[in-house]
Symmetry: C2
Subunit: 302 residues, 2 copies
Amino acid sequence: MELRHLTYFVAVAEELHFGRAAERLLVAQPSLSRQIRQLEDEVGVVLLERTSRRVELTAAGRSFLDHAVATLAQLEEGRIAARRTASGLAGQVRLGFVASVAVAVLPDLVAAHRRLRPEVTLDLREMTTEAQVPALVEGRIDVGLARDLEPVPGLCLQPVLREGLLVALPAGHALRARRRLRFAELRDQPFVTLPRDQVPRAWDRLWTLGRRAGFSPRTAQVALQYTTMLALVAADIGVAVVPESVRSLRSSGVRYVPIDDPDAESVILAVSREDECNPAVPGLLHLLDRDQLLDDTDITAT
Amino acid sequence: MELRHLTYFVAVAEELHFGRAAERLLVAQPSLSRQIRQLEDEVGVVLLERTSRRVELTAAGRSFLDHAVATLAQLEEGRIAARRTASGLAGQVRLGFVASVAVAVLPDLVAAHRRLRPEVTLDLREMTTEAQVPALVEGRIDVGLARDLEPVPGLCLQPVLREGLLVALPAGHALRARRRLRFAELRDQPFVTLPRDQVPRAWDRLWTLGRRAGFSPRTAQVALQYTTMLALVAADIGVAVVPESVRSLRSSGVRYVPIDDPDAESVILAVSREDECNPAVPGLLHLLDRDQLLDDTDITAT
DNA sequence: CAAATCGATAGCCTGGAGGCATCGATCCAG
DNA sequence: CTGGATCGATGCCTCCAGGCTATCGATTTG
């Protein structure tokens, strides 16, 4: 059996006339008759009751017709789906992201992407920058949203957002009213930090700031998530250094003051494979050009 | 595009190896390569990324693969459905039936049929014997369950049940305790009847009985349905002549006494076209052989 | 660097799809 | 009732396309 048999059969079933069906199919009537006969032999069932005066479907023919039409439709759908997938209009992107962008870049990105390419599903998985690199290389994710990553062979980095760093202070803190401050002024403060083994990059950032200011920041408490971190700050356990985008968490009882040091900044990057062939990826990366994404967002770039 | 392209593509997608796929398909590898190329040209999309070392699906290929598999499955399903329909195991039978069999033959018939051939749907339509004849001839129904029908050219009659007639009496009626009675004894009774214009056959039956007994039955009230009829009898409006199967309605306040006259009987018949080609019809008619149907029924034949 | 693996390409061959002519059955007009 | 028209089936021929063999070229491996 071939698709030809199906299209021929559907035509005859619709016309109930071999001559007209043949005309519509641009073949001669004898060819059509023979193909229908072959189809019946193949299925093992008489599909059409025909005399020289009248052609009509048998019960089996009606049943088969339904399936034939569905089959042809399914195939056409496959053709279209393949084209849409190849053009990046449909498909799937597995996106790894660091926790801190979940409150900043990610919601707008997902919303914009869903609006622009609703048939592309985003498979979101939170993972640290360190975990994203091997995941990309091994093909477990297609795009990563990372922080402060140095170039890696085979991977392509695209800066998305250059953020200043803020100090999160308890609402009653002595420094709360300052419009800005230098990190050295935090010499005696206890810090709420993220765990060094899981987020070494964030920890390094803090440690580097301290080294430049001439002291070693003292950790009062380790928190696993930014929300916890801010709750601890609000509870006066200590102060915390966070990227600017965390401000959008709007935790009550916490004041933010920008750090004035030149290297007090963090860069969010989109990371992808140089030889990526998933056609849905470019569309996502394009959205991450700052101008694309930040149109209707409340995060202000540095 | 032809089905060949789909099966070939599915094979390659599963093996991810042209050589092995070709072997499985019993064709030479170059043919397979060419067919896959044709398929890609046809769809307009690269489905497989291939080097001499490795073959893998593109995103579009994965998408198309899903549809290809579904298409082939759909087709196979159609083949099977056509065969089942042709063999009478699936399909549809439009069944006309007189109201009086709705309480007798029909429930058991439908239940047995559903049990034996669950894929054949019964399309039930209540209609009088008079309406069934043209409906059969014009092909609006496939089978009719009728009463007391004389042979009709082109139609095939099959007796299903030969029933005696009963008199339905109010519970307090003078004749209620009789084990049987002759119709002549009902000479002075008022009758509850079905409407003459809609059910002439039932009316004729009553009138014939009266003529043989030497009187004209007097209609006290006309009822449209057997349930109404029995309610009227229970309310002492009159007596009624009903086929034996109506007894299964078990209306309270009504007693039944058999009529002893030789022609006090009614025959339920299955009617079908002599040239019927709906393959699901024989299965239904076979169930209507008395031995088939009445195994687990409480209706007793005369 | 030689050998092996594997998909692509080239060229030939044949089966089968399509075309034309015609048959045979059926219906209808005169 | 008969000749013509209609329409699907059949027979035969042609030619394209799918399949085969041989070979190439790229890549990996020992």
